[in-house]
C-alpha cells in the first residue's frame, strides 16, 4: 500500500516535471494553430478553434520554407555522411591497430573540439570569401563536418572498442586484408553504433546556427537563418513564426525521441556500458 502511494506521488512529480519541460514546445505548437489575433493576446487562450492558416502562409511559395528546408537537409545529410566517411577509417585504425601515437592522435582530434568556432571564424570567412564559398552549400558542409568530426571519431572509436579483438584476429587469419576486415566484418557489426553517431551528427548539423548565420545569406541559408529572420517580429507574426518553428523542429525532435537511447550510449564515450 505504502509503496503504491509513493509510486503515485512519484508519478505526479515525474509528470509535472515532464510537462513543465515540454511546455514551451507545446505552447509553440498550440500557437502555430492559432490566428495571429488569438496568438497575440494578453490573456492566453488554451481553448480555441485551430486553424492551419499559419502553416499555409509559412509553406506558401515565396515564404521560402522549402528552399531553407532543402538547404538544411542537404547540408546536414552530406556533412554527416562525409563525417562518417572520415571518422570510420580513422577510428578503425586507432581501435584495432593502435600504435604508440594512437592515444595522442585521439586526444588531439577530440581537443580540436575545444577550439571555439570564433577562434577560426575570421580566417575561414576571409578564405571562403576569396574562394567564393560564402553562401555556398559546400562551404557550409565542410564547416559542419569539421565541427562534428572530433565527436564522431570518438563515438565511433568507443563503439569499435566494444568489438572483441578476437574477431579482428579471426578475420586476419581467415585471410582478410585490412580493408576487407573493415568493410565485411567490422562495419556490419558496428552498424547500430554508426547509425547513432550519424543521427547525433545530423541533429547537431541541423540545429547549427553560428556558421549558418555568419557564412550564408540566401542561397545556402538554412532553416536557422529562416527562423532568425523572425527576430524582429515583435508580436506581428507570432502564429506564423510558431508554425515555421514547428516545421523546423518537428523532424529533429521526433528523430531524437527514437534515437535517444543509442545516442547517449555513444556520447558517454564508453563510460557507460
Amino acid at each position: 500500500m505504502n509503496a503504491q502511494r509513493s509510486n503515485i506521488g512519484l508519478a505526479v512529480v515525474g509528470w509535472l516535471v515532464a510537462l513543465i519541460m515540454f511546455f514551451p514546445i507545446l505552447w509553440m505548437v498550440l500557437t502555430a494553430f492559432k490566428t495571429e489575433q488569438t496568438a497575440f493576446s494578453t490573456t492566453p487562450e488554451f481553448l480555441f478553434s485551430p486553424t492551419l492558416e499559419s502553416f499555409r502562409t509559412a509553406l506558401a511559395q515565396g515564404a521560402g520554407y522549402w528552399h531553407y528546408a532543402f538547404n538544411s537537409f542537404f547540408t546536414a545529410m552530406v556533412s554527416t555522411l562525409l563525417g562518417l566517411a572520415l571518422a570510420v577509417p580513422a577510428a578503425f585504425a586507432m581501435a584495432f591497430y593502435p600504435s604508440k601515437r594512437t592515444d595522442f592522435t585521439l586526444v588531439w582530434m577530440v581537443s580540436t573540439k575545444f577550439i571555439p568556432a570564433v577562434g577560426v571564424l575570421i580566417p575561414i570567412f576571409l578564405i571562403y570569401k576569396s574562394l567564393g564559398l560564402i553562401d555556398n552549400d559546400w562551404g557550409l558542409i565542410m564547416l559542419f563536418t569539421a565541427m562534428n568530426l572530433p565527436i564522431m571519431v570518438w563515438m565511433v572509436y568507443s563503439y569499435f572498442r566494444d568489438v572483441p579483438k578476437d574477431i579482428v584476429e579471426a578475420a586476419d587469419i581467415d585471410g582478410a586484408s585490412t580493408m576487407q576486415t573493415m568493410f565485411r566484418v567490422i562495419l556490419p557489426l558496428a552498424l547500430p553504433g554508426l547509425a547513432s553517431t550519424g543521427l547525433l551528427a545530423l541533429i547537431l548539423a541541423w540545429n547549427e546556427s553560428f556558421w549558418s548565420l555568419t557564412m550564408t545569406d540566401h542561397n545556402a541559408a538554412t532553416l536557422a537563418v529562416f527562423i532568425a529572420s523572425f527576430k524582429s517580429a515583435e508580436g506581428l507574426f507570432w502564429a506564423k513564426m510558431s508554425a515555421a518553428s514547428v516545421l523546423t523542429v518537428t523532424p529533429i525532435v521526433v528523430l531524437g525521441w527514437f534515437a535517444q537511447r543509442q545516442m547517449v550510449r555513444g556520447l558517454t564515450f564508453g563510460a557507460v556500458k
Binding site: 593502435p98 604508440k100 594512437t102 592515444d103 572483441p164 578476437d166 574477431i167 584476429e169 579471426a170 578475420a171 586476419d172 587469419i173 581467415d174 585471410g175 582478410a176 586484408s177 576487407q180 565485411r184 566484418v185 556490419p188 557489426l189
Partner: protein
C-alpha cells in the same frame, strides 16, 4: 600439412604505450623457445596461467611478432609473412565467430575472400558441417547457438580452410565438464582423420595428457620439458613438471642421503633409492638433502610393523576422502603433507596411525637447489630389474 619449427624464439612485450625502457627490464613472456614438430603431429602446450602459451601460439599465427628467433612453417621462414598469408587456421577460446553472419557464412568467409567458386564453397562447407554434425545449423546466427554448437562452428571454420597448421587456444574451456570430455575425443578423432599438424593450448593437464602426442610443459615463458604423455609422467625433468603432471599431485618430502649413497632418511620416514638411480649422482649428494617425490597412487597401505621396512613412512591420518573405486588419505609426515591413493575399501580412518610403503623404482629424486631431477635409468629396466 607441414612441419613447424621454432628456433630460439623470444617474445618481449613492451615498447607499447608506456615507454620502452621500463618494459624491457621485464622478463620475456616467452624465452628461448625451441621445438620442431613432426608432420601431422598433435602438440599440446600446457602450463599455468600466464606462462606464455597463448603468446607462443599467437607468434606462430602471426598475430604477434617474435622479438628474437625464427619461426618456419613447412620450411618457409614466416617472419615477414602476414597472418593471413601463413595458411594456418585458429580456433579461439571465445570462438570469435562473426556475429552478423550465419553459420554457413562464418565457415565460408575465408573461401569467399579467396574468391573460390561457389560450388567449391558449398561443397567444402557442407563437408565440414557433416563431419561436425552441424548441417542443420547452417542457417542460424551464432547467437542462436549453444556453447557446444558454437564450438563446433569454430572448428568447422578452421576445417574448411584445409590449412597447413591448426592452432587451438583453450578451445574447450568455455564448455561444461561433460561436453568437454566429448569434444576432447572428437578433436582427437578429427585430427586423426585430417592429419594436420596441430598446436593445442590448455592449462588442464588431463586434457594435455589425453590429447597430446607430445606435450610442451611451460612455466614463466620457459619450456620445462617436451615429451610424450607417458614419459612426462614417468620421468619428469624437474619438480615443477613432476607436480604439474598427474592428479592428485606428487608428494614431496625433504630427506637426507645416507653415507651408503642408497638410503634416504627423513625424521621418521626412510627409503632405499634402489638401482633406479645411477650411483654416481647419489654419490655427489652423499650426506646432503634431496627432495623425494612420490605419486599418491604409488603409495600402498602396509598392514604390518613399520620398523622392519626399508621403504616406509608412517603418520596419523587427517582426512579420508572415499571416492568409490579409490580412497584418498591425507597424512602429516615429518612436517610434510602427504596424500595417498589407497584401495576403495581401505580400513584406514581419520585418527589412525598407518604405515605406507612405496617401491623404490617409483621414487623421484630432485636436487634441492636446482630442483632438477636426479638422472635415473629408464623406468622399464628399473622395474624389471
Amino acid at each position: 600439412m607441414a612441419v613447424v619449427e621454432l628456433k630460439n624464439v623470444v617474445k618481449r612485450y613492451g615498447g607499447g604505450l608506456t615507454g620502452k625502457a621500463a618494459r624491457s627490464e621485464e622478463a620475456p613472456a616467452v624465452d628461448d623457445f625451441n621445438l620442431v614438430t613432426e608432420d601431422g603431429e598433435f602438440v599440446v602446450l600446457v602450463g599455468p596461467s600466464g606462462c606464455g602459451k597463448s603468446t607462443t601460439m599467437r607468434m606462430i599465427a602471426g598475430l604477434e611478432d617474435n622479438t628474437e628467433g625464427e619461426i618456419r612453417i613447412g620450411g618457409r621462414d614466416v617472419s615477414d609473412v602476414a597472418a593471413r598469408d601463413r595458411d594456418i587456421a585458429m580456433v579461439f577460446q571465445s570462438y570469435a565467430l562473426y556475429p552478423h553472419m550465419s553459420v554457413f557464412e562464418n565457415m565460408a568467409f575465408s573461401l569467399r575472400l579467396k574468391k573460390a567458386p561457389k560450388s567449391e564453397i558449398d561443397q567444402r562447407v557442407n563437408e565440414a558441417a557433416s563431419i561436425l554434425d552441424i548441417t542443420h545449423l547452417l542457417d542460424r546466427k551464432p547467437r542462436a547457438l549453444s556453447g557446444g554448437q558454437r564450438q563446433r562452428v569454430a572448428l568447422g571454420r578452421a576445417i574448411v580452410r584445409q590449412p597447413q597448421v591448426f592452432l587451438m587456444d583453450e578451445p574447450l574451456s568455455n564448455l561444461d565438464a561433460k561436453l568437454r570430455v566429448d569434444m576432447r575425443a572428437e578433436i582427437v578423432k578429427l585430427h586423426r582423420k585430417l592429419g594436420v599438424t596441430t598446436f593445442y593450448v590448455t592449462h588442464d593437464q588431463t586434457e594435455a595428457m589425453t590429447m597430446g602426442q607430445r606435450i610442451v610443459v611451460m612455466r614463466d615463458g620457459r619450456i620445462q620439458q617436451i615429451d610424450t604423455p607417458n614419459a612426462l609422467y614417468a620421468r619428469p625433468a624437474n619438480m615443477f613438471v613432476a607436480g604439474f603432471i598427474g592428479t592428485p599431485s606428487m608428494n614431496f618430502m625433504k630427506m637426507r642421503v645416507g653415507d651408503d649413497t642408497r638410503s634416504l632418511k627423513g625424521e621418521t620416514a626412510r627409503f632405499r633409492a634402489g638401482d633406479a638411480f645411477t650411483g654416481d649422482l647419489l654419490d655427489s649428494h652423499r650426506g646432503q638433502e634431496v627432495w623425494v617425490g612420490i605419486r599418491p597412487e604409488h603409495l600402498q597401505h602396509h598392514e604390518g610393523d613399520a620398523g622392519a621396512l626399508e621403504n616406509g613412512l608412517s603418520g596419523t591420518v587427517d582426512v579420508v576422502e572415499p571416492l568409490g573405486s579409490v580412497t584418498m588419505v591425507q597424512l602429516e609426515i615429518d612436517g610434510h603433507r602427504i596424500t595417498a591413493q589407497l584401495e576403495g575399501d581401505t580400513r584406514a580412518r581419520s585418527g589412525d596411525t598407518i604405515t605406507l610403503t612405496c617401491e623404490s623404482a617409483r621414487l623421484h629424486l630432485f636436487d634441492v637447489v636446482s630442483e632438477q631431477a636426479l638422472a635415473r635409468q629408464p623406468v622399464e629396466s628399473a622395474a624389471t630389474a
